[in-house]
Amino acid sequence: MNDREFSHAEDNFWLEKGLVQEVPLGRHQLRKILKFDNVPESMSIGVNRARGVSDDLGVADCLDDKKTQIQAYANITKFNQLGIKDYLLGKTSAADLHTRHAHSMGAAVIGRLYFAALEPFVEYTHIRNLFKNQHSYFEKLMLVALYLHDVGHLPYSHMVEAVFDEINWTRIKGASHRHDEVPLQQLGHEEKSGIKEAIKTCLNLSTEEETEQAFDLTQDLIAGISGIPFLDAIINSSIDADKIDYIFRDMEYTETRARLRNTQTWLTDFLSNISLSPEGLVRLNGEAALCTLELLEERQFLYRVLYLEPKIRAFEKIASVIVISWLTRQVSSKLLSTLNEKAVSDGVFQFKPDLRKEKGDLAYLLIVDKFIRYSSHHELTLLLDMCQELADDPYRDTSAKQWFGELGKRLAGFREVQSSQHLIEECNEIIVEEPFYIAKGRDGQYVRMAREIARNLYIDYPCGVLIDIVEFPGFLPTPKSRHFVAPNGVIVGETFLVPGEKPSEWSRNKIGRFPLHCCDFASLEKQFAQVLVINTMPGEVNGMYFLDLFIRRCRENGVKIEPSIWR
């Protein structure tokens, strides 16, 4: 197979930093491990910036042409990838570039490299007939899926998902609200039509039936359940293009790095050593397995020092309380008229079974509308606007209105910061003590109990102390759609094979033949949730009292508390 070169437009990370212009795939070691000579010993794949009209098989252009119709796709060009973290860290200038759309473009770049690295092996798998003369078709659909994989997102990223979780709203009937679980299902009819038209154009399809099939397959690809294992691996799996992009991107933008090897080296080593099993599963052989471990460990590190860092969490908790208060207020006053529009007859409303989806949909429209139309596409400005509205709410108590006003002032202080120094100073004032940790317990029972205690404290003593509780993620992220409940437990639909059950025994000479999800990562995981007590009114409220009260109530309910899990 010859060297491959693609061109892409609009990616502001991989291309701009020249990280993927040439990725040499040296397969000498791989051929040795696999005892397989049917792939070239070396080849080069590279991605260059498009000159004039973008290439990427025309997919980006087709989607861009329909941007006015696919509103959710247009929206992600304005949502920051990290919510308000960039503003808190004083990286305001990077915030405009660090968007969900830019990340989707980056994921598409990685996806193409991933696909190109695995493509030579397809003809030796059971799915070769499926791909016969259809490589371009599947590659284009893969790109569509990668460009659209985050369209379910709202401003503030995962914080809003946590908000929806806390108040039990959703946009997907019968499921919790997650951007990566059937995002296209959340879209309106007009948006779905726009996507179908874009697919029809870029794949050059002639019939409506073919277009519907391609659209359905795109949905399945995004959910990671297409049935084509290596495509699912590229788009939604434990080591997919999405994760590779965001981990490297977030490290770069926030200047955070621990132990991961140099980006170009990582890409070369990873892509050079992956292959396909006869079933179409991705083998992480030798160095590829070691690269995977490093990437996932880096992800854990990013969670510790960035995503769940206490200083960041303190202000994200404040932001989430503002968003919850605003959303519940807005939706309350509009819900009855929404129901009236859908009434079966005068005053009779049908609920099947409840209003979670209606509230979620209403919340989506309200928050996106406010962000796009009134807040200049700026997450911080949106929060300040919300604070102002809450401070002006005629039904809210004066103390609460003053409190939201004070929160707004605190957040406004981040408008012009250029470094994280302001964040440190603010947190020194409001964080009561260092975070402590609670064991998750069976099925997260202790975390649920702690959340209930925290909620009752918030209702009992409002507008003062906030308690943030966040779980550390598992070491191996897996889309929920690939979890299947069996009589003897949960089975995960596998897409990767690794050198062995114990990661400590993986080495550069071993072939991937063991299912990744059967490996033992227990020693690499922290089965804890981090708890942080935040006093938003220092000087007026005694934060230590509430810290003690919370701990006492947790202990009374059997919740185990650890002061530290890192030392």
């Binding site: 979780d165 806390e166 108040i167 039990n168 959703t170 009937k173 019968g174 499921a175 919790s176 919850i324 208060s325 519940t328 207020r329 309350s332 006053s333 509009k334 819900l335 009855l336 008229s337 129901l339 079966v344 005068d346 005053g347 009779v348 409303f349 049908q350 609920f351 099947k352 079974p353 409840d354 209003l355 979670r356 509230k359 039904y395 809210r396 108590d397 004066t398 103390s399 609460a400 997260g444 975390v447 649920r448 959340r451 209930e452 205690i453 909620r455 009752n456 918030y458 209702i459 009992d460 003593y461 409002p462 507008c463």
Partner: protein, 395 residues
């Protein structure tokens, strides 16, 4: 309000003015009451349940304002209920737990009800600047959670009165009930005797209650007891209770102020029957509940407790209520007339008025009055030709 309703109301107010000497000089505080009830629209299908919700307001001129029609929440409890939500409150159990109503389905019903009540609050009631809102209790955890995120003004009093006896155990731990039967030890002693017609020699005393729902500062609860029987449970919710400073520097507890507001509403009570026991509630709440209770198709009759002999005429009235609503009688008239009929046992003035219309013999006490009324009305109904308008002629 139509002519009949106004006449009944005037008569009732006249009776209460004999109890509350200063009735006409003190106008009742306006408030809105919200009540609900449930029924099964499809015989034999517990997966479909209807909640009827109604709101009734009473102005300071004692004018009753009812929603044009009650809201009906037609809930289908589908099989695929979705993943259990993290960290949300548990249902209190308004629908008893059975094989058809596991915890998740109970949660759905309570969630829908709470959502609707909050929507009604914001889209209608608060917009009218209402300051006292009385819910049919109990306050479910889901409703409290929703209210907790909204930080309502401390001027707005949210009260819940739980009067259906099957829900008492949800909110009154047995230990509290036994403890509070000895009322000398109660911390709170609010005299509502004069609110609920002293003629019956029944008065409701309030005793402290500490339900175990985790909220200690923003939710206060009392049991209203009559002759060692729990009549209703009163809950008050306020997230920003601020006291009022009195001359001399003392602080008047905000909870006392709010209790007094509820007491005000009970100075004009209306009667409902729950399992054949009379319960006096704020008039608007009685009206709101009465509409919900009699709404909708009832494929099977609710089990009836035995009516006392001398109350039998009241059971006849209850039997006719569905028809009254069907032909368009206003709830103020229905509830008001029920209240008057009950009072006829205890009030010689009301009895003498009824006596003229129903041809009754004089009677010395409530037992005789009740028996006379029961015999007379039973006799008329047995002879045939009974029509519901006869109630309008009797009282």
């Amino acid at each position: 309000m139509n002519v009949q309703s106004r006449e009944v109301q005037q008569k009732l107010l006249g009776e209460y003015s004999n109890i509350h000497d200063q009735w006409f000089s003190d106008h009742p505080a306006p408030y809105t009451a919200i009540a609900f009830d449930s029924y099964y629209p499809e015989w034999g299908n517990p997966q479909r349940i209807n909640l009827v919700v109604n709101a009734v307001s009473i102005t300071s001129e004692a004018d009753i304002q009812v929603l044009p029609r009650p809201y009906v929440l037609d809930i289908t409890l589908e099989e695929a209920l979705g993943p259990k939500a993290k960290g949300t409150s548990e249902p209190i159990g308004l629908i008893p737990k059975t094989f058809a109503y596991d915890e998740e389905r109970q949660g759905i019903i309570e969630r829908n009800l709470s959502d609707f009540l909050v929507a009604l609050l914001y889209d209608d009631i608060l917009k009218r600047d209402e300051r006292l809102i009385i819910f049919q209790g109990p306050f479910s955890p889901k409703l409290l959670g929703r209210l907790g995120y909204r930080n309502l003004n401390h001027d707005i009093t949210l009260a819940a009165i739980t009067f259906k006896s099957e829900w008492f155990p949800l909110n009154v731990p047995e230990a509290n009930r036994r403890l509070n039967q000895d009322l000398d030890r109660s911390r709170f002693f609010i005299d509502i005797e004069r609110s609920c017609h002293a003629r019956e020699k029944a008065f409701y005393q309030l005793a402290d209650n500490k339900p175990s729902n985790g909220l200690e500062e923003v939710l206060k609860s009392w049991i209203a007891v009559n002759n060692n029987r729990t009549v209703f449970i009163l809950e008050l919710f306020c997230q920003f209770p601020s006291g009022v400073e009195l001359p001399g520097g003392r602080i008047k507890s905000p909870w006392i102020t709010k209790l007094r507001a509820v007491q005000e509403s009970l100075r004009f009570p209306g009667l409902v029957f729950e399992q054949s026991e009379p319960i006096w509630l704020p008039f608007a709440l009685a009206c709101a509940y009465d509409i919900c209770r009699h709404y909708g198709r009832r494929p099977f009759k609710e089990p009836e407790s035995v009516w006392k002999d001398y109350w039998e005429y009241l059971s006849f009235y209850e039997e006719d209520i569905e028809e009254m609503y069907r032909v368009g009688w206003e709830t103020a008239e229905v509830v008001g007339r029920r209240s008057l009929l009950y009072l006829a046992m205890f009030s010689p003035q009301i009895y003498s008025f009824v006596k003229e219309k129903a041809g009754l013999i004089p009677a010395a006490g409530e037992f005789d009055r009740g028996m006379n009324l029961s015999r007379a009305i039973k006799g008329e109904r047995t002879r045939g030709g009974w029509r519901i308008n006869r109630w309008r002629e009797i009282i």
